[in-house]
């Protein structure tokens, strides 16, 4: 093992020890600790935990590379993955918090007083979170594997063991505070290299203000090479695909159960609103930096790699050619490297930047630890969600409503360990590339849940049959479109990653039509829906609104 691997390994092990330490300190003692951290997390820290929960291995490692390769078309990911927080914070989170349950399936089951709806929602939650976690585990496997020169599969197994330990010990309470720590590590690791890169190339340490000129310059370089300009819109796909992808990512973000459940951990609707605002601020720090990474790395590649004699490439390229993430060919046989002869894997951008900017071993190790933090923090949140669907929604609410708190806690822990192992086994040989798997999870989440949650919160006339029809129809249409488009059949030029548009539309129509065709729900359920319009202190009952001013105590 060389010196660099050793430094990276020590940094990663230190962060692992920190995470396990935090979860031992914040051990879950009752189910309310385990699922919603006793609803006592302050909004600022919850915002930070949402940031960790949200930003995955794909955001950390892959997104900058996606923007670099796709140019303007890659910006759909930047806008979509942040814009979802508008929908979530304005339309869903505060109301779901006032309803006051442990999980998303529990809201759906209780709001419509329907156990079939609860079961469908629980199964859909498990499917969505499972798709998503496979991406995280294979992401962490790639990082560990590359660092220690192990096969990616050993990397996956190491990641799995660490997550299983700290998630099952701490539950949501432990996961919340590890996510806060993971956010701090990942954002530091993400921003340091880009600040130095900006300083070296432009003399200004604020990459967000300086990379603009490079975007324009890249356009000029592309034009000279006869490529379409870097910033030209809809180069790789049609406008309809860009808008459909943007929509799918936004709606999926707002409907991902592992994100929604983070809003259950605060005290009130007001705290939920502030959580959303803090969360997006913390998330934006990374999302605003990704296009800067993209512009600087592309500039370095265009000016220092492309057009150079093949035997005189910069030193940092060699290590990446060896890993297969950078491939060069000499098709024109003139000894010079042309853009067409270069194959760049998306994951290289963030991982190679510290080496390009010559930042030394500590920063390279820090970026590796940051990538692990991004994968683990998201995986931790997902595991809580998967296990709560099994242990809370299916085991406790459907099968054993009389189970004691102790038994429920044990069931939750067993579910976490079991689902970690299952996800780990699948991640050893993941189907498709990471980004694609995750893009599907967004389409599935949006198509299955968004209209049901949105109308469930805002429309009192919605019925259980409507909810069931919407979820099943939305899930079916989304899956169907993904498979059709993979087979080459597309509508309006929209590809598999934009499938959410069709799923959401089908879901929305089914909910409205089926609800109107079935008898109106009981008055009590309708009153509960109206009650969500007001803050906690105001209660809606029998057409009247009461304010609790503490006068009857």
């Amino acid at each position: 093992m060389d010196q660099q691997s050793l430094v990276s390994l020590i940094l990663i092990l230190l962060t692992f020890a920190l995470y396990i330490g935090i979860s031992i300190y914040n051990r879950a003692k009752v189910t309310s600790d385990f699922y919603v951290a006793s609803r006592g997390i302050p909004p600022f820290w919850n915002g930070m935990a949402i940031g960790g929960d949200w930003m995955s291995a794909a955001s950390f490692i892959g997104m900058a590379g996606t923007v670099m390769m796709l140019g303007y078309d890659g910006l759909a990911y930047i806008m979509g993955w942040t814009g979802g927080y508008l929908l979530l914070t304005f339309l869903l989170a505060p109301q779901l918090r006032k309803y006051g349950r442990f999980t998303v399936p529990e809201f759906i089951g209780d709001r419509f007083d329907s156990n079939p709806a609860r079961l469908i929602a629980a199964i859909a939650t498990i499917i969505i979170s499972f798709t998503y976690i496979i991406g995280q585990l294979s992401g962490s496997g790639v990082v560990i594997g590359r660092l220690l020169n192990l096969p990616a599969s050993s990397g996956v197994m190491i990641g799995v063991v660490v997550i299983a330990i700290y998630a099952s010990l701490g539950g949501m309470k432990g996961v919340t505070w590890t996510q806060v720590a993971q956010y701090m590590i990942l954002i530091t690791a993400y921003i340091i290299p880009i600040v130095f890169m900006s300083l070296q190339i432009t003399g200004n340490p604020l990459p967000w203000l300086t990379y603009g000129n490079f975007v324009t310059e890249l356009g000029a370089i592309d034009q000279e090479l006869g490529l379409s300009e870097y910033f030209a819109p809809f180069d790789e796909s049609q406008r309809s695909q860009f808008l459909a992808l943007l929509f799918t990512l936004m709606v999926g973000t707002a409907a991902l159960p592992h994100v929604i459940v983070r809003f259950y951990t605060v005290t009130t609707m007001k705290a939920a609103r502030w959580s959303g605002a803090w969360a997006l601020l913390f998330i934006a720090l990374l999302y605003l930096s990704a296009p800067a990474y993209a512009a600087f790395s592309r500039f370095v590649i265009m000016t220092q790699v492309v057009g150079q004699p093949i035997d005189e490439l910069p030193g940092w390229t060699e290590a990446w050619i060896n890993t297969g993430l950078l491939e060069i060919a000499d098709t024109s046989e003139d000894g010079t490297l042309h853009w067409e002869d270069l194959f760049i894997h998306e994951d290289i951008v963030v991982m190679a930047t510290p080496e390009i900017a010559n930042l030394g071993m500590f920063v390279v190790g820090l970026v590796a630890a940051g990538a692990m933090a991004a994968a683990l923090s998201t995986a931790g949140g997902l595991l809580i969600t998967i296990s709560s669907s099994f242990a809370h929604d299916i085991y406790y609410r459907l099968l054993r409503p009389n189970a004691s708190d102790k038994k429920r806690l044990l069931a939750g822990r067993i579910a976490i360990v079991a689902s970690t192992i299952a996800a780990g086994v699948i991640a050893l040989d993941p189907p498709g590339v990471i980004t694609q798997i995750i893009a599907w999870a967004f389409a599935l989440a949006g198509g299955t849940f968004f209209p049901v949650l949105f109308l469930g919160v805002w429309w009192k006339r919605m019925t259980a049959q409507g909810a069931i029809a919407g979820m099943l129809g939305g899930l079916g249409v989304t899956l169907g479109y993904i498979f059709l488009s993979m087979a080459g059949v597309t509508l309006f030029g929209i590809q598999d990653t934009g499938a959410g548009v069709f799923g959401v539309a089908a879901n929305l129509i089914l909910v409205v039509v089926v609800s109107l065709l079935t008898p109106a729900p009981p008055q009590k359920l309708q009153d509960e829906a109206v009650d969500l319009r007001y803050p906690e202190q105001m209660t809606y009952k029998d057409g009247e609104v009461w304010i609790n001013d503490g006068s009857d105590k």
Partner: protein, 101 residues
């Protein structure tokens, strides 16, 4: 517990809903709106911070707008709550009591 005028409660709901609609319209126009017209903005040659305007909006402008909207929503909602006599301490107590499902 004290009964309040239904009209007052409706007014609260109407103000909050109007805010949400306005914020979402702004949020959608800086993202979907700009993306929809990206080709003509690119052709017009408009620049922000040294890069083409449509690229700037996708890479920074939309995200910064989203963050500002969320903080405005949190601040203005607190103000509205206060105007309607909502006391956050009471909210905490009430929701705390209802959390053990």
């Amino acid at each position: 517990m004290r009964k309040i005028d239904k009209a007052t409660a409706d007014k609260y709901f109407r103000i909050r809903t109007t805010m949400i609609i306005v914020f979402l319209l702004i949020g959608f126009s800086v993202s979907y709106g700009v993306a929809f017209f990206a080709e003509s903005i690119n052709a017009s040659g408009a620049m922000i911070l040294g890069m083409p305007a449509h690229y700037y909006m996708g890479a920074q402008g939309a995200v910064v707008t989203f963050v500002v909207l969320l903080f405005l929503n949190a601040i203005i909602s607190d103000y509205v709550d206060k105007k309607f006599g909502i006391d956050e301490k009471q909210n905490v107590q009430i929701s705390g009591g209802a959390s053990d499902h």
